[in-house]
Subunit: 355 residues, 2 copies
C-alpha cells in the first residue's frame, strides 16, 4: 500500500510515479509506455508550435485513454540584445575556428517558446489530465482557461517561497525540485544558485508550507529514493534520468553512451548551453568558461550559439559542447524499457516494506 494517495487520486493514476518531461529526450513513446504501466507519462511540449502540438495531442488521443501530462515552459521571451549575443558568439569564436566553421552572426530564438494563447487553445481542445509548467506559471487568464478545461495544473518549486507562490496561484500540486535534479532548474523567483536546496531539505519544508500535495523530484534514481521521498512527506515522485536509460528515450547513441559512462564523471549546473541554469554532464566548455557566466545569452538563445560546434564535435566523437542533461543519480541508471522501469520501481518500492 502507498502511504499517501493524494496524487494517485488527483491524477487518477495507479502508480505515484511521474516520468519527467525532457524536451528533446522523452519523445512520445516513453510517456505512452509510462502511462500504460500505470504512472503518469509526460509529453515535453515546450518546443512544439501549435500545429505540431495539435498533431502530438491527436496522436496521443489515438494511442491511449490513460492520463497524460503535457509540459510547457512559462519563461519570458528572450531579450532582443544583438550586442550581447554577438559578444557571446565572439567568446565562442575560437571553438568555431577549431572546427573550421563560421560562427553565426546572430542568435535566433529557436523553437522553444513560452506557453501562450494559441497553445492554450490546443490544450483546451484535448484537455490532457495534467498540464505542467517549468519556470513558474503563465499569465492568470491562461491558468484559468486550463483549469476550466478540466486539467490539473502543476509546476516546479526550487525553494519554499516558490512553492508558496505556486500554491497561491492555482497549482493543484507542486513539484519540489531538489538540486540533484537533471535538466533545467525550475527557479523563477530567484536567480541565485545559492538558494537551491537538496531534495532531502526541500521536500519536507515544501510539504510543511503548502496544503496541496507535493511531488518529489531530484536524485530519485531507484526504489530507495521513492521510499525516501514518501518518508519526507511527498505524495508522488517525478523521475527523469532513470528514464533516459530506457529504450524509448529519444536520444542519440552518443548521449546514451555518455550516460552509461557517467558513473565516473560529474554533473554540473551551468547556464552556458541555454542561458538558464541546467544540470548536465561536465565537459570541456564548462571547464574552460566556468559553469555559470553572466555573459550567456537570454534563454533559450544559448542553444543556437553552441549548436553548430556541438554537432561538429559530436561528429568527431567529442562531447565538448554537448548539453547532456542528467541528474546526480545518473550512476544508478539501468537499461530497460519505460514500461518495465515504471512497474519495477513501483513494485520494489512497495516491497521495500517501508511503505
Amino acid at each position: 500500500m502507498w502511504p499517501d494517495n493524494r496524487i494517485r487520486d488527483l491524477f487518477s493514476i495507479d502508480l505515484p510515479i511521474i516520468q519527467a518531461p525532457m524536451a528533446g529526450a522523452s519523445g512520445s513513446e516513453m510517456p505512452f509506455a509510462v502511462s500504460a504501466a500505470g504512472g503518469l507519462g509526460s509529453l515535453a511540449c515546450a518546443s512544439y508550435d501549435p500545429d505540431r502540438l495539435r498533431s502530438l495531442m491527436a496522436a496521443a488521443r489515438e494511442r491511449t485513454d490513460k492520463p497524460l501530462n503535457a509540459n510547457f515552459f512559462a519563461h519570458a521571451m528572450p531579450e532582443d540584445d544583438a550586442e550581447r549575443d554577438a559578444a557571446w558568439l565572439g567568446r565562442l569564436s575560437t571553438y568555431y575556428a577549431e572546427y573550421g566553421l563560421d560562427a553565426p552572426t546572430s542568435l535566433p530564438i529557436g523553437p522553444v517558446r513560452p506557453f501562450d494563447a494559441a497553445r492554450c487553445a490546443v490544450v483546451e481542445e484535448f484537455a490532457p489530465s495534467v498540464v505542467s509548467f517549468h519556470f513558474g506559471l503563465p499569465e492568470p487568464a491562461l491558468v484559468a482557461r486550463i483549469k476550466a478545461a478540466g486539467c490539473k495544473i502543476i509546476s516546479s518549486a526550487t525553494t519554499v517561497n516558490e512553492a508558496r507562490w505556486l500554491a497561491a496561484n492555482g497549482c493543484d500540486a507542486i513539484i519540489a525540485q531538489g538540486l540533484e535534479a537533471g535538466g533545467h532548474r525550475g527557479m523563477f523567483l530567484t536567480k541565485s544558485l545559492g538558494s537551491q536546496v537538496g531534495t532531502m531539505s526541500l521536500v519536507p519544508q515544501v510539504v510543511d508550507a503548502v496544503d496541496v500535495p507535493v511531488i518529489a523530484a531530484g536524485g530519485i534514481g531507484d526504489a530507495r529514493g521513492i521510499v525516501a521521498a514518501f518518508a519526507l512527506g511527498a505524495s508522488a515522485v517525478q523521475i527523469g534520468t532513470a528514464y533516459l536509460f530506457t529504450e524509448e528515450a529519444a536520444i542519440n547513441p552518443f548521449y546514451r553512451q555518455a550516460l552509461e559512462d557517467a558513473g565516473n564523471g560529474e554533473t554540473v549546473v551551468t547556464n552556458l548551453f541555454s542561458g538558464r541554469p541546467t544540470r548536465v554532464l561536465a565537459n570541456r566548455m564548462i571547464l574552460d568558461i566556468g559553469p555559470m557566466s553572466e555573459d550567456a545569452p537570454s534563454f533559450p538563445k544559448g542553444f543556437a550559439a553552441t549548436g553548430p560546434i556541438r554537432a561538429a564535435a559530436e561528429r568527431t566523437g567529442k562531447r565538448d559542447f554537448s548539453a547532456h542533461f542528467c541528474g546526480q543519480s545518473v550512476a544508478l541508471g539501468r537499461r530497460t524499457s519505460a514500461f518495465a522501469l515504471t512497474r519495477e520501481l513501483a513494485s520494489e518500492a512497495l516491497r521495500h516494506g517501508a511503505i
Copy 2:
C-alpha cells in the same frame, strides 16, 4: 524496530543518531546529553591542544560511561604564504576601516590543527568508542594506533570516490555527507564544488560502493529525514543543525537568533571564512566578494582574517562577517534540549511506521 542495526551494534549505542561534532558550537554538555539519551555524542576536538584535549577526555570519563565520539581534522598544515595572506587582508581592509580597526599584518594559524602523534597519544590513553575525522584520514600509522586502542574510526565522504578511499584506508563506517549539510564540506580528494552531491543521490550510491555501514548526513532536520535516510540504505544518521537549537548549544545569543530567523534566509557554501568550503548563512561579505574566492588564505587561516571585523560588527548587531554555520534544513529547527531532541527524533522515526 530499526531496519538496520549495523551502526547500533558497531558503536554499542541504543539509537542510530549521531550528533554532529561542531567545533565552537557543540561544546561538551550537548554530547554528554546525546549519549545519555542513547545516541552518540560527539566532542569537537579539532581546536584543542593535547593538554586541553586530555582535560576534556578526563572530564568526559567522569561524566559518562556511555559511548562518545572524539572528532578531529585531518587537513594538511596551511601553506606559509605571507604574500597571499597580506593580499587577502588588503582585500578586507575597507571592512577594517569601516570599523576603525587596523587590519592585522599577518595571519596566525590559530588553534585548529591537524590530528598528530601528540593528540593520538591522548586518544590512546582514553580510547573513546569512536574517533571521527573530517577532511580524510591522518597518516596510516596514526590510524593503526587508534584502531589498536580499540576505537572505531569513521570519516566523511562527499563523493563515491571518497567513500571508496575511506573504506580502503581503514574506516569502520562512512559518513555520506550530502551537499545540504552545514559546516565544512569534508571533501579531500576533490576541490571541485561541482562534484558535491545531494544526500538523496549520495547515500544510495555510497551504500552500493562500500561494504561498511553508512551514516547519512546533510539536510536531516527531523524524523522524516531519518526515515528517508534509512530508506536510502543508511544504517544511522548524523545530525548537526537541529542540535544548534538545543539549550546545550555553546553558541552566543546572536548566532542563536540568526538561526531562528533563518527560515527566510539562505545558506551558502563559501570558503571566505576559513579557507575551505563550508555552509553558512548568507551575509554581506559573501554577497560582496562572492561565495568562493581563489584568493582566500589556506585553511584555517581565514578565521584570523575576519575575526576582528566579525567581533566589531557583531557588537553593533550585524552578522556581516559571521560564519554562522548551518545546513539547508535550518528552518526545521525547534527549541528543545539535546536529550529530548535525541529521544524525540528516535521515537518519531519509529512511530512514522516506515521503519
